[in-house]
């Protein structure tokens, strides 16, 4: 059952939320041993919450648009009293004293949180192999990765553990695993969804977004979590666009641009390009006008991203110092305690990015690295703006290829980084983008295409995404 169906059935009293949750918990119990989507399950709390939803329905109270719908939460979202680790040793055992805004909004909408999902440590990675608590496996093929960093959430939806999940996307961390797991994953406009309670990786790029099996479910979840939050200064004050409003509109007359730089990016599997072109044809068949468009600065996206994101991360992750919470490795003095705590607490990829970022911000290097990267960011935004003068939405591949084997890219960080080449430009621009499953590769593994839209263009983005989904 989709989230839309579950919510409808629970609200009408046709299905009990407890039954729905029990079914999903049972599926998790049976299969998650081989997938490892979850780091922490909150089964008791979920059943209790489901019972409350059922009581509300019985009492004639509408529990909300996500009534009784199980949701999996990426473990970098703060959950009051529930362990929140970012898949890092340094936060092992830490229980936040508060809920992230999105978690509160889910609860208020009647959703039932099942637990916390695995990720690359502090969301740094593209395969979920950087988790301190072991990798997640792709439900379509357990020898392969689910993508990352939100691999646990993507795998949970793909495995049927939950119809909905939340992830976070800094450079593609929702869309790439969605593509690799064959589910829908959207990164909203920067500022559309509150970041309060999302443990920061790179604050100017991070956005929380939905995973779902269907485009309609993703739209439903996005509409619930979107909207201004006074606790996040970067949260947009304007009324949020409706994702669901785009679902039934079709694409008749829409102008869609196929982004040259994304279809010719380094290391792309030709099968991915082929699926993207088929998607373009499908849109044309549905009445859209499709043309090639260039976003020239997009080719510098990866380089700029790997300066900006590590720079912000080096500062965001400074607080894990052993003084107040999480891991503390004692030392003879404060410096030794800092060094030992951070040496033992962080994994290799996190350390690599902290060092990269620290260097990029250092006196004498700032202008050449961070400053220059910000200029690239401005250029990318300008190039996108120019493209959106002519097009309502853009199209490109999500990931360079299908799911790869565990361990295939762990020895060379740069190869791993290339996974985000098609997704990063949207983060740098602050624009929304959604990955929709579109066909499979020769091995039968799912591939995804990406719909990009201008800031607050979620409605048109979901028009295109729904059309693509229907054309498969």
């Amino acid at each position: 059952m989709t989230a839309v169906e579950i919510a409808g059935a629970v609200r009408s009293g046709e299905h009990s939320a407890v039954e729905v949750v029990e079914e999903h918990l049972e599926r998790i119990a049976r299969r998650d041993g081989g997938v490892h989507a979850f780091l922490h399950l909150t089964a008791d709390a979920a059943l209790e919450r489901a019972a409350q939803v059922d009581e509300a329905v019985a009492a004639g109270i509408d529990p909300g648009p996500l009534a009784g719908v199980p949701v999996a939460l990426k473990d970098n979202l703060c959950t009051r009293g529930v362990p929140t680790t970012c898949a890092s040793r340094i936060l092992e055992g830490w229980r936040p004293p508060y809920d992230a805004t999105v978690v509160s909004r889910l609860a208020a909408a009647g959703a039932v949180a099942l637990g916390k999902t695995n990720l690359d440590e502090f969301a740094m990675g593209s395969s979920t192999e950087n988790s301190a608590f072991g990798p997640t496996r792709n439900p379509h093929d357990p020898t392969r990765v689910p993508g990352g960093s939100s691999g646990g959430s993507a795998a949970a939806v793909a495995a049927g553990f939950a119809p909905l999940a939340l992830g976070s996307d800094t450079g593609g961390s929702i869309r790439q695993p969605a593509a690799l797991c064959g589910v829908v994953g959207a990164k909203p406009t920067y500022g559309l969804v509150s970041r309060y309670g999302l443990i920061a990786f790179a604050s100017s790029l991070d956005q929380i977004g939905p995973f779902a099996e269907t485009v309609a479910d993703a739209a439903l979840l996005l509409d619930v979590i979107a909207g201004h939050d006074p606790a996040d200064s970067t949260s947009l004050p304007s009324a949020p666009p409706s994702a669901r409003a785009g679902l039934d509109r079709g694409v008749e007359g829409l102008r869609v641009g196929l982004v040259t730089e994304l279809t010719t990016a380094e290391g792309l599997d030709p099968q991915v390009v082929a699926r993207t072109r088929e998607a373009a044809d499908a849109l044309e068949a549905a009445g859209a006008k499709v043309d090639e468009v260039s976003v020239p600065a997009a080719v510098y996206g990866l380089s700029a991203y790997y300066l900006i994101a590590p720079a912000e991360a080096s500062s965001n992750l400074a607080r894990y110092d052993g003084v107040r919470y999480g891991l503390r490795a004692p030392g003879a003095d404060i410096t030794e305690m800092y060094v030992r705590t951070r040496t033992e607490g962080f994994g290799a990829e996190v350390k690599r990015r902290i060092m990269l970022g620290t260097y990029a911000l250092s006196a004498g290097y700032y202008d050449a690295y961070y400053g220059k990267a910000q200029k690239v960011r401005t250029r990318i935004l300008e190039d996108f703006d120019a493209a959106y003068q002519r097009f309502d939405a853009l199209l490109g591949p999500t990931a360079p290829g299908g799911a790869f084997a565990l361990g295939a890219k762990t020895t060379d960080p740069l190869t791993m980084y290339l996974n985000d080449v098609c997704t990063i430009p949207s983060n740098l621009a602050g624009h929304p983008a959604v990955s929709v499953p579109y066909g499979v590769d020769a091995g039968g593994l799912p591939l995804g295409v990406q719909v990009l839209a201008p800031a607050l263009g979620e409605t048109v983005m979901f028009q295109v995404a729904a059309t693509l989904e229907a054309s498969r």
Binding site: T84, C86, A100, S233, S314, S315, V323, S362
Partner: protein, 475 residues
């Protein structure tokens, strides 16, 4: 130190008197139980985000306007360094785009000191090192109180326009008065709500190039600021005259031992890796709002001094006027002027008797004060009596006539004064002859004798006038 000119620039941190902290809704309150005014935001817990306190911006604008600064659109940066009392291991501060820039402050003597900038930032927590030498690296353990973490600060940076320890103290004194007048700060240096660092250098008189400066920290009173600067200037001059060179560094003032010592050199200086704070948006003050704040600001000390000085017929930089304004006593002068009484006398009484009993000011009402002035001016009380009555009014309250009566005070004037003078003149006939012959200074002798003979009750001003009149008349 002849031949050398001292150059000083000051960095003053002031805590703002907001109800809540700079980026969260925790109480901004001094002296509470440790770690009671804390939340996820000011503890820097993972996932928390800052939201700027509008009142703090209001205060920063008030300070900028009072210091004649440009109030401009500004952004926050992160200043990155590790320290246990800083929960995020970075401080949110303003860097190359501060809210206030390019202003000036006028010292009581009329000198204008340039203000380079004033910017908003968050305070750190407070660390207590237990055991060892009281420093972090040899402590057995350290206790951190995060109540102060996130308290709003404004840092005010002067230009290097100050030329002596006295000027530096006068600057801080004046700045403190301005901060209090704006309502932005309570100005309490002892409680740490006003903290001063001094950049000190020396150069040969006549030179226009700056010498190498040292930043001196840890002065917790105006007195220690003056001592630290004097010490540092002497140290630098001695160094340079001995053929050495001043090394740019941060130095720590040791109040007990009266000297500065090196904290860290330029090479050891932190690389703060400043970058724009991505969790906050630019602060863009609406010009109309800034104008409203400017219009609503009360009179600043310099303006008050001019008003008091004008009323009293004194110079604005005179000690009495400066004291009256510093102690916030100008309403008494205003009341005096309104009642048509002697404002000069008012300022003298306020700057002396009232100033020395300032803790009891609540007992003194402006009306009673003016009544006392009138009694003295009319000769109903002598100066000495008026002082005694004023002291009693301050310590115990009450009206001046009642207090004077209780003391049995009445000024000796008229016939009784003439009679008393007759006796003094008769007892000092020799001196009187010399006084009549032109020895002016002998007037003091008669006044002194008269004071003794009348037990201080004589109206001495009236007596002096009588003496001069008698001499002129040749009797």
């Amino acid at each position: 130190m002849s031949g050398w000119e001292t150059v000083i620039g000051l960095e003053v941190h002031t805590e703002l008197r907001t109800e809540t902290k700079l980026f969260c809704s925790c109480a901004n309150r001094f002296g509470d139980e440790p770690n009671t005014n804390v939340c996820p935001v000011c503890l820097g817990l993972p996932g928390s985000l800052p939201v700027l306190n509008a009142r703090a911006v209001d205060y920063a604008v008030r300070i900028g306007v009072a210091l004649h600064c440009q109030v401009q659109p500004s952004i926050f940066h992160r200043k990155n360094y590790f320290y246990p009392d800083m929960p995020k291991d970075y401080q949110i501060s303003q860097y190359d785009l501060p809210i206030d820039t390019d202003g000036w402050l006028e010292l009581p003597g009329g000198k204008r000191v340039g203000i380079e900038r004033a910017h908003l930032e968050e305070d750190t927590g407070k660390t207590t090192h237990v055991g060892g030498g009281g420093r972090i690296h040899d402590a057995d353990h350290s206790l951190v109180d995060y109540n102060r973490a996130g308290v709003p600060l404004v840092e005010i940076v002067s230009r290097p326009d100050l030329r002596s320890a006295d000027e530096a103290r006068a600057y801080v004194d004046e700045l403190r008065a301005i901060l209090v007048a704006t309502g932005a700060s309570d100005g309490k240096m002892e409680e740490g709500s006003l903290r001063v660092d001094a950049n000190v250098s020396v150069r040969p008189v006549g030179s226009t190039a700056f010498g190498t400066r040292c930043e001196v920290k840890n002065m917790n009173s105006l007195r220690s600021l003056g001592r630290a600067i004097d010490y540092e200037v002497a140290r630098q001059v001695r160094l340079v005259e001995g053929g050495g060179e001043v090394v740019q560094e941060t130095r720590h003032w040791n109040e007990a031992e009266g000297h500065t010592s090196s904290m860290r050199s330029k090479e050891e200086a932190f690389d703060y890796r400043y970058f724009p704070e991505p969790d906050l948006v630019p602060v863009v003050p609406d010009p109309a709002w800034v104008d409203g704040i400017r219009a609503a600001l009360p009179a600043m000390p310099a303006e008050l001094r001019r008003g008091v000085a004008h009323a009293a017929g004194m110079a604005p930089e005179s000690d009495a006027v400066v004291t009256v304004v510093r102690l916030g006593l100008e309403p008494f002068v205003t009341a005096t002027v309104a009642a048509g009484a002697d404002a000069g006398l008012a300022v003298r009484r306020l700057a002396n008797e009232v100033a020395s009993e300032i803790g009891s000011l609540a007992n003194l009402g402006p009306e009673q004060f003016v009544t006392l002035l009138r009694m003295e001016s009319a000769g109903d009380l002598t100066t000495a009596q008026a002082r005694t009555v004023l002291k009693d009014m301050l310590t115990g309250g009450g009206d001046p006539a009642g207090i004077a009566a209780a003391h049995g005070f009445e000024a000796l004037g008229g016939d009784a004064l003439e009679a008393a003078l007759d006796e003094v003149v008769a007892d000092n006939a020799d001196a009187w002859a010399r006084y009549v012959a032109g020895e002016d200074k002998l007037q003091g002798l008669f006044i002194g004798r008269l004071r003794g003979a009348t037990a201080g009750k004589a109206d001495l001003a009236a007596a002096a006038a009588i003496l001069r009149a008698r001499r002129a008349a040749g009797c």
